[in-house]
Amino acid sequence: MKLDGTFTFGGPQESVWALLQDPAVLARSLPGVEKLDASGPDQYRGVMKVSVGPVTAAKFDVAVALTDKVEPSHFVMQVDAKGAVGHTKGTAVIDLAPVESGTEMRYSSTVQVGGTIAAVGQRMLESVGRTMMKQALESLDRELKARLANGRSAT
């Protein structure tokens, strides 16, 4: 499955970059992620719970790695998740560029899904993937705006 798209963050590129490299922010923003601890440089491990309709809180062990960094405009995020009902492996190539209203993120991702979820839920995978991507990006944008607002009031 491929998930490609663009998203415009309402803030400057440096702030967006810093946001995306912060594991605490990622843990709060990636849908269903309950915790994310550093397991090495730019590598994190944690637990993720996903609920979609009849799928009630499927639990996954998740590993996130950030690679190929070119600050402040390009990196690759790899997400591996394994659980009792299936497993996924996703790679997202992320590019940031300044635009008039903030920072445009261009993402191009490939996600492989296996196990029961893939066998039974094949026809829903893209919808679920798209929904989770949207939730993550909107949540990141809220984080960014909160940060910028705090930064301004502090100075």
Partner: protein
């Protein structure tokens, strides 16, 4: 394959069922015909702690009509709908869609309320309810409220129902004079989840102009959708073969958001949508001409 352990309740009355759903909230699932929930539990995709079986609640199983509406209890089986003369007379679109709902064995168990509450975007009945402008009565221990179909389906398997709420009744407006309905879908094998589908309900005025053109679409977004563009382009006009085709193609461009999977690409689904919308509209308007 066996489900994870769960507590099981089989109340006889609606009040008991609502009490149980209130008590257990998010942990509880209502069991209707079990044609989606039980497989999901057996795969352990769904692991509800509590099941509230509605099959003994007789008051939820009913088909009744008055002059302006058809009322369906949520536990009415697909098979009952399929064979009901009241349904055929009051809401022929439901009868037309019924043979496409899975297979006979599933229809003998599956219920209308179960299908609507499950909100599978590939299911037939949610799209039919949108086309018919049906409304749903949701009951909970603290009372009941009525939600139109257009505000009920919020996303993939997601509805406006709150924990503790139960879909108890479906109200469908009686078919108008000079109305017609048509249903069609494309699936790899009959009874499979459709790659795309369309349910049309149209009404013409005495002057031959289209008053209502409602088309519900399935498997073409993360929820059932109403083809708003069709209504915008056709209502108030005298539909021709050409204008129907244009409306179908326009709708397939703007009203839907199809996904790709191993069965069909997004692009192919969009093409199917244009064909199916045109087909159901042509069929419905044609039957009005010959009426």
């Amino acid at each position: 394959m066996k489900p994870a352990p769960f507590a099981y309740h089989a109340p006889f009355s609606l009040d008991e069922a609502l009490d149980l759903l209130h008590e257990h909230g998010y942990d509880a699932k209502a069991l209707a015909g079990g044609q989606s929930l039980i497989p999901a539990m057996n795969f352990r995709l769904a692991t509800p702690a509590v099941l509230v079986d509605l099959n003994r609640v007789d008051s939820l199983r009913s088909v009744s009509r008055d002059t302006t509406t058809l009322q369906l209890g949520a536990m009415t089986r697909h098979r009952t709908l399929e064979q009901s003369q009241d349904v055929a007379q009051m809401a022929p679109l439901v009868s037309a869609a019924m043979p496409f709902v899975a297979h006979e064995a599933i229809r003998t168990r599956g219920t209308i309320g179960g299908s609507l509450a499950h909100a599978d975007p590939a299911a037939e009945l949610p799209a039919v309810m949108l086309a018919l402008d049906a409304s749903f009565t949701l009951a909970s221990r603290s009372g009941s409220r009525v939600v139109p179909a257009s505000a009920f389906f919020l996303g993939l398997f997601t509805t406006a129902m709150e924990p503790g709420e139960l879909l108890v009744n479906i109200t469908i407006p009686a078919r108008a004079d000079r109305s017609a309905a048509a249903f069609d879908e494309v699936s790899r094998r009959h009874g499979d989840f459709a790659l795309a589908g369309a349910a049309a309900y149209v009404v013409n005025g005495a002057d031959g102009k289209c008053e209502v053109a409602r088309v519900g679409l399935l498997s073409l977004a993360d929820r059932p959708v109403l083809a708003a563009e069709v209504a915008r382009l056709l209502e108030g006009t005298r539909p021709s073969k050409e204008s129907i085709r244009e409306a179908a193609e326009a709708s397939a461009q703007v009203d839907i958001d199809p996904t790709s999977d191993i069965h069909a690409s997004s692009r192919y689904r969009r093409q199917l949508a244009a064909v199916l919308i045109r087909r159901v509209l042509e069929r419905a308007f044609l039957s009005l001409e010959h009426a």
